[in-house]
């Protein structure tokens, strides 16, 4: 897409999709493949990692955070590259970290990560803090149709979303201290691979899943009112986000169709000027005005597509995240309740069980507190994000109309001036 901000990360490699059979591996790990082998690989040298590559977006991220005390870690995601191996083709993104935190051995890191690495990180963070609210990852698949998966826009949108995800983690006082976050930011590729293998194995993860399913089947008995209120809110909120997402996409569609017609409109005035004499100037003038308004419309559509549309979509995903958090909290409580029930029915071995019950009750309390704290944080972020996106949209719309206004006013002025000149020089009309 042209007309983008001056972010150097936007210089994406050309994406072509001659879909030869061997390219079209739909990797389990959900990375985006199907790029041509001949794409030039962009070289990001470590030396120019002196500044975060998109200072504007960094500042924007930072501006609306509630903690205005000094941020001590900056993370950027940029520079998508295609990688081809014998088995698969996938995209990696450059992740640059600058930090003054003491836990980090160095103050600058640069690594390359693929989508499945981000997914891994998210799962690890969720495991460690099941009731903290994280910003969502971009989606695995885009359902809208094949074509959109292979274009620059998709990669760009995904990259921005990954950037936001990492930054939200970095800004989170608890999540950002998680060991796996540090490893994600700093480990070389082979280090990360080996670390991943060390994590809870397949069987252990299966065990967790089984317990979670069992707990959710059981259901929680006495959910505190405030969490029920949260659930109801998130439900409503989610519906609103879906509606707004749809409305905004519809607006983009209508705008594009309007632009299509507008592009045919100007040329007719130019055509007409070809058969006239006195009317040539005003006709050409109108044609030119319409053409310039076309450009302004194109810019406006671009802005909408790159800002409000992705933001609303993110918040649709957000509500799923939050609902998942609330479910996990419920499961923790359900597990605790179940253990309590078991204790009530047991006659022997009560001591061991009592310890277990206490542990689980503590777990519930921790989970609840974590969630309560994070809820406010999430609401604050949501308000900032939504406010910023709509304010920006409104600003852009004002800008659009101001541009068009200037175009037509200058036409009118030049026409009036020309006419006055003619009248003064004795032409009658």
């Amino acid at each position: 897409m042209s007309g983008m901000s001056a972010d150097p990360a936007q210089a994406l490699p050309a994406v072509m999709s001659p879909l030869s059979g061997q390219m079209l591996e739909l990797d389990e790990d959900d990375d985006l493949e199907v790029f041509s082998k001949d794409m030039n690989l962009m070289d990001g040298s470590p030396m120019n990692a002196s500044m975060p590559t998109s200072p504007a977006s960094m500042i924007n991220q930072y501006k609306f955070e509630e903690e205005t005390d000094a941020k001590d870690i900056f993370v950027t995601v940029d520079n998508p590259e295609s990688h081809v191996t014998a088995l698969e083709t996938f995209i990696t993104y450059r992740v640059v970290t600058k930090t003054t935190r003491s836990e980090f051995d160095s103050c600058e890191y640069e690594v390359r990560r693929r989508y499945q690495d981000f997914l891994w990180l998210k799962e690890r963070l969720e495991e460690g803090h099941p009731t903290l609210i994280m910003h969502p990852l971009p989606e695995k698949f885009v359902m809208k149709g094949m074509v959109e998966r292979f274009n620059d826009d998709f990669i760009e949108t995904r990259q921005k979303a990954l950037h936001k995800f990492l930054n939200r983690v970095a800004d989170h006082p608890i999540l950002s201290c998680h060991e796996d976050f540090k490893i994600f930011l700093t480990a070389q590729a082979w280090e990360l691979t080996s670390h991943k293998k060390q994590g809870p194995g397949f069987l252990s993860r299966m065990g967790d899943t089984v317990r979670a399913v069992a707990a959710s089947v059981r259901g929680v008995r006495n959910r505190p009112e405030e969490f029920t209120a949260m659930l109801e809110y998130v439900d409503s909120f989610g519906q609103k986000m879906i509606s707004l997402d749809k409305v905004t996409q519809r607006i983009v569609k209508e705008q594009k169709e309007y632009l299509g017609e507008l592009k045919e409109y100007g040329p007719v005035y130019t055509l007409w000027s070809g058969s006239e004499e006195e009317l040539v100037e005003p006709l050409k003038g109108v044609a030119s005005c319409i053409d310039r308004c076309c450009k302004a419309t194109e810019e406006q559509i671009g802005h909408l597509s790159e800002n409000l549309v992705p933001l609303l979509h993110e918040y649709v995903l957000c509500t799923d995240s939050v609902k998942a958090v609330l479910r996990r909290r419920d499961n923790i409580q359900a597990e605790s309740e179940a253990k309590n029930d078991a204790l009530a029915n047991r006659k022997a071995d009560r001591e061991a069980l009592k310890e277990e019950v206490e542990r689980l009750e503590d777990k519930v309390e921790c989970a609840n507190n974590a969630l309560k704290g994070d809820w406010l944080r999430w609401q604050g972020n949501m308000r900032s994000d939504i406010k910023a996106a709509f304010v920006s949209t409104a600003e852009k719309n004002v800008d659009y109309y101001e541009k068009c206004l200037a175009v037509w006013e200058s036409f009118l002025t030049s026409q009036t001036a020309a006419h006055d000149m003619e009248s003064n020089s004795g032409h009658s009309s």
Binding site: E257, V268, L279, P282, A394, V398, L412
Partner: protein, 434 residues
């Protein structure tokens, strides 16, 4: 955008203080002066009304009538506001008037009527002839037509036109009494001429070509404009959904509620604003349409020229061939092929007396032919002179009117942009307060 009438005289008519006789005298005098009617008379198509009645085949029909009001130009003064004279006319009567003018003044570019049926309609606009918006725009178009005729240096002094404005009953009879129907050229004659004329005036050929281009480009413009209007409507109306969703959403928010609610109102206002914007643009479309139809009127003048030119050429040709025959007969040779010639060859030569008789007939025919050619030549020259004068007038009027139309289009765009700036500035403020 009315042309200047040029006459300084102002007669007082319709004054309630004078007698009927005096009033009629005044009217007659005014007609005789041949000066621009519009200087003396205020004309307007003030209202439109639905009527039902029985038509020619005794079926019930619904139709619209238009109220034509006339008043002396200077009758409205301090404290004196006389009631105008008025009568009702329906569209078909306007058509009859125009057809009369077309036949009676074939060298004039006759102002067009507003369209009979709604065309170049974008989807939301009704194509129904009974639709109030259509009727209103037609009322304006009919008034425009009358004003154009009333300000025309030649047409404004036409008696039938005057009666159209002033005599409700008996007008139709008066029109038919002029015998204009008999004078109208058949379509076939006109078509014939177009293809067979050998030496059309170059200016008229160019003019016809220009008219074709004007027709083509204005109809293209009207079509595209209608599509653009359609799309613009869609864009604005979809924003109304923001209003609805914001309103619902504000109910579950505490801090964001007020901002959302008021932003929603602005979105509703934005969506609603497109109706007025596009209604205004219809006036621009009507101005373009007028010149689309004017192009046809210009072509009618060109066709008349072709017809006259063709008749002249035919008459000249006839004369030439008769002269040829005369020559041959006098010289005794037959150069032109004729059955007579053949038969005389077959059945023997003619007697001198027979030849003498033939020559005499030819001489008469040639004399008549010469008169015809002279008449036709004069007719052609007169036509070209008068037509070209009106065409020059038309060109100036067209350049002036279309330039103004384009400027008024720019004004409309400016107004639309200003409204947009206001709404989104307000919305931005509401969003900032969220």
């Amino acid at each position: 955008s009315m042309a200047d009438c040029g006459s300084e005289e102002v007669a007082v008519i319709g004054n309630t203080d004078i007698t009927d006789e005096e009033s009629q005298d005044n009217k007659n005098n005014m007609m005789a002066e041949g000066s621009c009617l519009l200087r003396k008379m205020e004309i307007s198509v003030a209202e439109a009304e639905k009527r039902t009645g029985k038509n020619a085949v005794n079926m019930q029909e619904t139709y619209t009538v238009y109220l034509i009001e006339t008043r002396p130009a200077d009758s409205v003064t301090e404290g004196h506001n006389p009631v105008p004279d008025s009568l009702w006319r329906r569209y078909s009567e306007f058509e009859l008037l125009r057809n009369y003018l077309l036949v009676t003044y074939p060298f004039i570019v006759i102002p067009p009527l507003p369209e009979k049926r709604a065309e170049f309609v974008w989807h939301k606009l009704s194509a129904d002839n009974m639709d109030p918006d259509f009727v209103e725009r037609r009322r304006i178009g009919l008034e425009n037509f009358l004003l154009r005729v009333a300000s025309h240096p030649v047409l404004s002094s036409d008696k039938i036109f005057f009666l159209f404005l002033t005599e409700e009953n008996g007008w139709k009879e008066a029109v038919f009494e002029t015998g204009f129907l008999a004078k109208s050229d058949s379509r076939l004659k006109a078509l014939n001429a177009t293809f067979r004329v050998k030496n059309p005036d170059k200016r008229f050929s160019e003019l016809k070509h220009y008219s074709d281009e004007l027709q083509s480009v204005t109809s293209q413009l009207l079509r595209v404009r209608a599509r653009v209007a359609d799309r613009l409507y869609g864009v604005y109306k979809v924003h109304g959904n923001y209003g609805r969703v914001f309103s619902e959403w504000s109910a579950i928010e505490k801090e964001m509620g007020d901002g959302l609610q008021s932003a929603g109102h602005h979105m509703d206002a934005y969506a609603a604003s497109v109706d007025d914007i596009l209604e205004e643009e219809e006036h621009y479309a009507d101005q373009l349409k007028e010149y689309l139809f004017y192009a046809e009127a210009v072509k009618a003048v060109c066709r008349k020229h072709e017809l006259l030119q063709y008749e002249l050429e035919t008459a000249s040709q006839d004369l030439a061939s008769k002269k040829q025959q005369q020559e041959e007969l006098a010289a005794g040779t037959v150069r032109t092929f004729s059955f007579k010639g053949m038969t005389s060859k077959l059945f023997g030569q003619e007697t001198p007396e027979q030849r003498e008789a033939k020559l005499k007939v030819l001489e008469e025919q040639i004399k008549e032919g010469e008169v015809t050619v002279t008449e036709k030549t004069l007719e052609c020259e007169e036509f070209v002179k008068n037509a070209w004068k009106d065409i020059e007038r038309f060109k100036e009027q067209k350049d002036h009117d279309l330039r103004e139309a384009l400027m008024s289009y720019a004004v409309m765009q400016i107004s639309m942009c200003k409204k947009g700036i206001q709404v989104w500035t307000n919305a931005k403020e509401c969003f900032s307060k969220m």
